[in-house]
């Protein structure tokens, strides 16, 4: 019998890494290593969203807020970012795998959202400017 949890995890390969796949580069601040490939040796990536819809509490209207979020399959990561660690994340500036990448950070302010039971990690990105 197929284990349902394993099935859900393997479905992420389709939902996160199939037609909507965009490449992502991760750099670990503690080692300086940039990860561009996943555990299989393929380009690292997943679902990249730039905006999200939020309700403005003052007016009750919907607003489009720039809120870059990257969702990756945990099992593809050579090293998994954990809360409190500083990483930089490079994502394409447009929905094109070959587009130039923009650098963001994940810092202490925004803990990543773990879906450990079904095997994904969601990273909330912070704007970064040249020092």
């Amino acid at each position: 019998m197929v284990n349902v949890r394993q099935l859900v995890e393997s479905d992420l390969k389709t939902t996160l890494e199939a037609e909507f796949f965009l490449p992502v580069f991760l750099t670990d601040a503690t080692t300086g290593i940039k990860y561009t490939l996943n555990t299989d040796g393929d380009p690292l990536g997943g679902q990249v969203l730039n905006d999200s819809i939020k309700i403005n509490p003052q007016t009750g209207e919907e607003e489009l807020v720039k809120n870059p979020v990257v969702t990756l399959r945990r099992s593809t990561l050579i090293k998994v970012p954990i809360a409190g660690e500083v990483w930089s994340v490079e994502i394409p500036i447009s929905p094109d795998p070959l587009a130039d990448k923009k650098l963001y950070t994940i810092g202490a302010m925004r803990a990543s959202d773990d879906g450990e039971s079904i095997g994904y990690i969601r990273l909330y990105l912070e704007e970064a400017v040249q020092q």
């Binding site: 601040a29 300086g32 003052q58 990448k101 302010m109 912070e126 704007e127 970064a128 040249q130």
Partner: protein, 210 residues
């Protein structure tokens, strides 16, 4: 005719805008929200709005002038992005040691936003409490100017930016005149004969020989 609290509010806005010198942006109070990215364009914004007022009976005349103890909320908002040596991190030729150095030297957005708000508070407080602004340029009309409270809200992340907001509570007293309000008086109607005939104009043709 505008009441004194409206005049004073406009004057405070004017004084803040004049003293900004590119360090922040003064905006009139708007009911719509300000997005983090629009704050980030100038980093810091201040806006003044009438929060409330008391009309102490013992300090007023029955038919005016009437004392008006006003509380203005002066809202301060700061948005910041993190600062990091992007060029080093993006450069494929950078060594791991160079990248670590870039990360160590990076300044996180929450720290920058917090420091920026403190500096912003200092600037605005100094402007509001400046001896030259004791009457906000309205001598004999403004009294008891006082900043009673400074309040910083929690640091929050809005989209990809870090935002810090807070409020300065400014109190003062003005005298309001009771002028009554008779509503809008309709304008006088115009009844002018423009001298235009109802018929099509016909050219006069001379029938005499020159």
């Amino acid at each position: 005719m505008a009441m004194q609290f409206e005049v004073v509010k406009a004057k405070i806005n004017e004084i803040l805008a004049a003293a900004a010198a590119g360090r922040f942006r003064t905006i009139g109070h708007q009911s719509q929200s300000v997005t983090a990215l629009s704050i980030e364009g100038v980093k810091r914004t201040v806006r003044v709005y009438y929060s409330g007022g008391d009309f102490p009976k013992g300090a007023s005349s029955a038919n005016g002038p009437i004392s008006h103890d006003i509380t203005f909320n002066v809202e301060l908002a700061v948005a910041e992005a993190g600062k990091i040596d992007i060029a080093t991190l993006e450069n494929p030729a950078s060594t791991e040691a160079q990248k670590i150095t870039a990360f160590v030297a990076a300044k996180e957005a929450d720290e920058l936003a917090d420091t920026s708000w403190d500096e912003f508070f200092r600037i605005v407080w100094q402007i509001l409490m400046d001896a030259r602004n004791i009457d906000f340029g309205l001598p004999y009309e403004v009294a008891n100017r006082w900043v009673s409270t400074g309040q910083k809200d929690k640091i929050s992340s809005t989209g990809s930016m870090i935002v810090v907001t807070g409020v300065i509570r400014l109190e003062l007293r003005v005298s309001e005149q009771v002028l009554g309000d008779a509503g809008d008086t309709p304008l006088e109607g115009f009844d002018i004969d423009m001298g235009i005939d109802d018929q099509d104009p016909v050219a006069e043709v001379s029938t005499t020989l020159p």
